[in-house]
């Protein structure tokens, strides 16, 4: 038998305002087999809940249709062969037909558990339906115990009679309501977003229970849900609703493999749908797996001042329950932080302390310079902290949207005419400008939420706390809210988001705080959190699909680090597309490798007495070493196995030798280069050094090619011989060479050099802009002389940007005599961190060799000044 048969069903809610309204359900045709698990999804306002009401018989039987019934309802809904909702003609008029509510055969778990509690204790809540069924006491007791066990509340059976619903957390409430229906053993169970308030682990747990029950007793399930993971895992079919109609109906794998179509209907897609080119829906890769060095670029904020300083804060409710236990947390201005944790972990309580609504029982909390411990001071916190509650209905105090925005401003003493411009601007910013005069009560859910955000941001808070911004929202609304919050964050607002949505955490937040039982159990980056399986389990959290897939690939050795969002996966695939044949390192990657190399060297050999770098290749690694040891004297050696056009020579030519090295008796000399390719250059230089100095020579490089005949004492990364190592400060040279040798790869390689937002990347941009200005001035230098050690990196980049291979570093004017300045036909570009008598003297000495132009770039200021 079919569980549900709906034929040509139309429904319009009666309204008594005289305003014409549209049908909420339009021509629904749907058949659900007995024992089937049907998922219903779609944007907010598409008719999902009304469809559930219709199947359960609440619509139209619970409503009063004053007249013209036939204009409100047509078609029919049958459940297990019985007419539940329909319309019949009686004499000259129409009446509603059907049996109405099919309880207990049909159970209906609605969205808000609060409104579904009809009793005063956990026990009586579960027993109520059973009592109404007229079951005997023994059976009632048995079913109560079973039902509570099924939803994970079995441990409260003995005290269930004493537990008031108000004492339960949001998630426990939802579980209890589900238990009260499961106890009735319905043949059809309708659930309207039943897990929206549950933590991720709780969601899956409850759904698994329902799915298991369905298998055991052949229960038919109808589930309204936005979460695609739940749908994929449990649903046999999914119905997508849009504008009151069912627009798509099919198996989850079929539907979610058509992301472009589903996006039109604002349906949440699984991560893999966004990556459908690379993964099948069951998470199997469609591409050839190979080991990759890809590391995602994750933006880091510069350090700013502290805006929230909480030390040892505890909070207890009047009934003695400890909600916060010794919490310590610091938040910097401009951060965007997610606060996550299981139901009842203290997230909302912490937020109320931070927003000044609740006073800490102990400890100290300083919020934007205001102490939350003092009652008189705490009153002022709302001036600095905005709080957007989960239910926007709780924050609407007036009868017009404009007045709603003015409400907060009035409280801080701003006159209406002064506020008008601000109100209009904020309304435009949240897309509610056309609703300015409407009664907020009649706004849609998403609009109300935007209004709630607007009402908070109009007070220009430095900190904005948002409680569950995406719960119960469709994809489009969630994205809009998050983009709005991201914009605010970019403009400088510190944002704290309480959420269960781990996808949101991965996409938008660079810091996540995990709470459990009133304490903070984790505070760090999302990527770190996703690697901590025990913390995820303790806090009933689950990693997003992107993370799950990439962790497996990390475990198998194909990836270096897990990728936490679809966006990072797309970056990875872009990287892979560009990579083949090239090993590209960003500045940060090089720096990371250099620091790790130094740590290893320090560990084994201690601090070097002196540093020798091979010019030009070793300039950047030397710069990175000298960042750690600015007091070490650095010396350059110019040597090359390759000519300036890249052809190999017979032997390595050494152009200079730092005489000062001979005086080193204690310690060791560190010889460093970026790549050891054939090994000949480094070996030759090492041998040369050995012949002149008594100190030990230790060799190191960032990259080592497998083909090299010499393996340095320390190296960071072994690369395959056939790979072209592409480095960010060799942009022009690389593109020039690729253009000659591998023109077909030119575009791909050029694309590798874009988008470095790191500090190094900024210096690179800056140096190249200076090079452009040098060219504008037609300076045309033939040699770049740079002051050691500060100008190393800058000079190296300038050398690439200006295509000047002749570079020479000096520590003082005595070293000028070692420079290759004889017969110089052209100008000398002197790069120095700043002007000083010493630089003037160097300039004067260099002037005897040619015209000297000085660059003194100020790295803190976007525009450098040039003199010459």
């Amino acid at each position: 038998m079919d569980a549900v048969v709906i034929k040509d069903f139309f429904w319009k809610y009666p309204n008594f305002t005289g305003i014409k309204t549209d049908y909420v359900l339009k021509g629904i045709n749907l058949t659900i087999k007995e024992g089937e698990f049907l998922g219903i999804t779609g944007r907010s306002g598409s008719g999902k809940t009304t469809l559930c009401f219709s199947i359960s018989g609440l619509v139209p039987h619970q409503l009063r249709i004053p007249e013209h019934v036939e204009e409100h309802i047509s078609g029919k809904v049958e459940v297990f062969g019985q007419l539940v909702s329909g319309v019949k003609k009686v004499d000259d008029h129409y009446e509603v037909d059907g049996v109405g509510s099919m309880a207990p055969s049909v159970g209906f778990v609605m969205q808000d558990p609060e409104s579904q509690f009809l009793s005063m204790s956990m026990l009586h809540e579960v027993s109520l339906g059973l009592q109404m069924m007229g079951l005997d006491k023994a059976e009632i007791n048995k079913r109560i115990t079973e039902a509570l066990d099924m939803v994970g509340l079995g441990q409260y059976r003995d005290v269930a009679e004493r537990i008031h619903p108000a004492e339960l957390s949001g998630g426990q409430k939802q579980r209890l309501i589900i238990a009260s229906f499961l106890a009735m053993k319905p043949k059809l169970l309708i659930l309207d977003e039943p897990t929206s308030d549950l933590d991720p682990a709780g969601k899956l747990e409850v759904m698994k229970t329902i799915a298991d029950l369905r298998k055991k007793s052949n229960m038919t399930i109808i589930l309204v849900e936005h979460n695609p993971d739940v749908m994929l895992k449990f649903a046999d079919r999914i119905a997508v609703m849009y504008g009151g109609r069912i627009v798509q109906l099919g198996k989850p794998l079929e539907l979610y493999s058509r992301p472009d179509i589903l996006r039109e209907y604002n349906v949440y897609l699984p991560d893999v749908s966004e990556l459908s080119e690379y993964f099948s829906l069951d998470e199997k890769p469609k591409f050839q797996l190979e080991k990759s060095s890809f590391v995602p670029e994750r933006k880091t904020r510069p350090k700013t001042s502290r805006i929230i300083d909480v030390k040892g804060v505890s909070y207890s409710y009047p009934d003695g329950t400890k909600a916060l236990d010794n919490i310590t947390i610091e938040v910097e201005k401009g951060e965007m932080i997610a606060i996550v944790g299981q139901n009842g972990s203290g997230k909302s309580t912490l937020s109320k302390v931070l927003s000044g609504i609740a006073a800490p029982s102990s400890g100290s909390a300083d919020i934007a310079g205001i102490s939350a411990n003092s009652k008189s001071e705490r009153r002022k916190i709302p001036l600095h902290v905005g709080y957007v509650f989960q239910n926007p209905d709780h924050q609407i105090f007036t009868r017009s949207v404009k007045n709603e925005l003015y409400y907060g401003l009035k409280n801080i003493g701003i006159k209406r005419d002064e506020a008008e411009e601000s109100i209009n601007s904020v309304l435009a910013g949240v897309g509610l400008a056309d609703k300015a005069d409407e009664d907020p009560i009649f706004l849609g859910r998403g609009q109300k939420r935007r209004l709630a955000v607007a009402s908070s941001i109009i007070m220009k808070p430095e900190i904005l706390i948002v409680d569950e911004p995406t719960t119960g929202q469709d994809y489009k609304m969630s994205k809009e809210i998050m983009e709005l919050l991201t914009e605010l964050n970019i403009e400088g607002t510190t944002i704290l988001i309480i959420t269960h949505d781990m996808r949101l955490v991965a996409e938008y937040c660079r810091r996540v705080v995990v709470m459990s039982k009133g304490t903070i159990v984790f505070d760090g980056t999302p990527e770190k959190l996703f690697m901590e399986d025990d913390i995820l389990e303790l806090s009933s959290l689950s990693e997003p699909q992107s993370v799950r897939i990439s962790k497996e690939l990390v475990r198998q050795g194909f990836l270096r680090k897990p990728l936490i969002s679809a966006r990072e996966w797309l970056q990875f695939f872009n990287f892979m597309r560009l990579k083949s044949g090239f090993e590209f390192s960003t500045y940060n990657e090089m720096d990371s490798m250099a620091q790790t190399l130094i740590d290893t060297i320090l560990d084994k050999k201690g601090k070097p007495a002196s540093l020798v770098y091979i010019e030009r290749g070793g300039m950047v690694p030397a710069y990175m070493v000298l960042k750690r040891f600015p007091d070490i004297r650095a010396h350059r050696i110019r040597a090359s196995y390759y000519s300036d056009v890249g052809t190999a020579s017979k032997d390595v030519e050494i152009y200079n030798f730092p005489k000062e090295l001979s005086s080193i008796e204690k310690g060791y000399i560190l010889l460093i280069d970026e790549i050891v390719d054939t090994g000949k250059t480094m070996l030759r230089i090492r041998d040369e050094l050995k012949s002149h100095v008594d100190a030990e020579i230790v060799t190191a490089s960032i990259f080592l090619k497998r083909q090299s005949s010499y393996v340095p004492d320390f190296y960071s990364k072994l690369v395959e011989s056939d790979l072209w190592v592409v480095l960010p400060y060799e942009r022009n040279e690389t593109i020039h060479s690729i253009g000659i040798k591998r023109p077909e790869d030119l575009n791909r390689v050029s694309a590798l050099f874009t988008g470095d937002a790191s500090n190094y990347g900024k210096i690179d941009d800056h140096a190249r802009k200076i090079a452009d200005r040098i060219r504008e001035k037609s300076w045309d230098p033939k040699i770049i002389v740079y002051k050691l050690p500060e100008s190393l990196l800058f000079a190296r980049i300038l050398s690439d940007a200006l295509r000047v291979n002749n570079v020479a570093g000096i520590s003082d004017r005595e070293e000028i005599s070692d420079l290759p300045l004889a017969n110089l036909e052209g100008s000398i570009l002197l790069v120095s961190p700043g002007m000083s008598p010493e630089i003037e003297a160097i300039k004067s000495d260099l002037s005897s060799y040619g015209r000297v132009q000085i660059i003194t770039p100020n790295f803190e200021v976007p525009d450098a000044y040039l003199s010459g």
């Binding site: 009401f53 359960s56 619970q62 509510s101 309880a103 207990p104 159970g107 609605m110 808000d112 609060e114 409104s115 579904q116 509690f117 009809l118 009793s119 005063m120 009586h124 109520l128 339906g129 009592q131 109404m132 069924m133 007229g134 079951l135 006491k137 009632i140 005290v159 004493r162 537990i163 008031h164 619903p165 108000a166 004492e167 339960l168 426990q172 009047p318 009934d319 003695g320 329950t321 009842g344 927003s355 000044g356 609504i357 002022k380 709302p382 001036l383 509650f389 239910n391 209905d393 709780h394 924050q395 609407i396 105090f397 007036t398 409400y407 409280n411 801080i412 003493g413 908070s456 007070m459």
Partner: protein, 272 residues
């Protein structure tokens, strides 16, 4: 928030919370209400005399105070009602003294516009007797409300075989008040978050802020009432034919009997 028996020190009652293991919370609610009734009758008998039994009324008052402390509810009384109660009792006392000129040994006398007022030891004694009687009834009523769970009342009504629909109605009303109370608290917090306490938070501003609660509260009430109706229907309320009187029995214990006996005895005292 955990609901583990070992960790639960307080239970939610009709008004506020009370210590779960306190004597008065453990009493059967029917016994508590019966005791309240008996003591109230006793106090009324006492006040009805020409000279009220001050010691009887003070004993009843003391009894209430002792159990307010024992149940952990005294702090709520002090925070919420004590000031109002004291003002009311003071006014009551003043009223009695002004409009009941009894006794012949004035402690204090004054004439105002031809009218003569005096306070005698007798009028003080009688006034104190009456005021303490009213105070005892007020405190005892608050004690009863603050130590009784609404679930216990529902159980008690079932136990005395009140019809299902009537009991259910009381349950829904009680539950709705809970929800509205939670909503009100959240709405109030939202008001604070929007700066309602900034600036001068005088009396008029307080009134204004209170009135502004009406909009979100009304919206909440309407929404909740529709949802509660739907929830009742979803549970099959309109289809009930046979309703099982399932009650998790709260048996009468020895101290319930003892309290009833004490109540009965205390009724007799003013009659003797």
């Amino acid at each position: 928030m955990t609901n583990n028996r070992e960790e639960k020190r307080y239970v939610k009652t009709i008004l506020f919370t009370a210590r779960a293991d306190s004597f008065y919370v453990r009493l059967n609610p029917l016994v508590k209400f019966a005791f309240l009734l008996l003591i109230s009758v006793g106090v009324v008998f006492s006040m009805d005399r020409p000279v009220p039994d001050l010691y009887y009324n003070l004993s009843a008052l003391a009894f209430a105070c002792v159990f307010l402390v024992e149940s952990g509810t005294i702090k709520y009384l002090v925070r919420s009602y004590l000031f109002m109660l004291l003002v009311a009792l003071f006014i009551m006392m003043l009223w009695w003294l002004v409009f009941n000129q009894v006794g012949s040994n004035p402690i204090f006398a004054v004439s105002l516009g031809g009218l003569h007022f005096q306070v005698t030891t007798l009028s003080l004694y009688v006034g104190a007797g009456k005021v303490s009687g009213y105070a005892a009834m007020a405190f005892l009523t608050l004690l009863t409300m603050m130590t009784t769970r609404d679930a216990d009342i529902i159980s008690a009504l079932r136990k005395i075989k009140v019809p299902f629909k009537a009991v259910f109605f009381v349950s829904i009303v009680s539950r709705s008040l809970n929800i509205l109370s939670d909503d009100l608290e959240t709405i109030r917090q939202a008001q604070i978050a929007r700066g309602s306490r900034l600036g001068k938070f005088g009396f008029l501003n307080r009134i204004r802020e209170f009135v502004m609660l009406a909009v979100p509260l009304t919206a909440s009430i309407i929404r909740r009432s529709v949802e509660v109706g739907g929830a009742m229907e979803a549970r099959g309320f309109s289809k009930v034919r046979n309703f099982t009187g399932y009650v998790d029995e709260k048996a009468f214990r020895w101290y319930d009997g003892a309290m009833l006996a004490l109540g009965a005895a205390m009724v007799m005292v003013p009659l003797l």
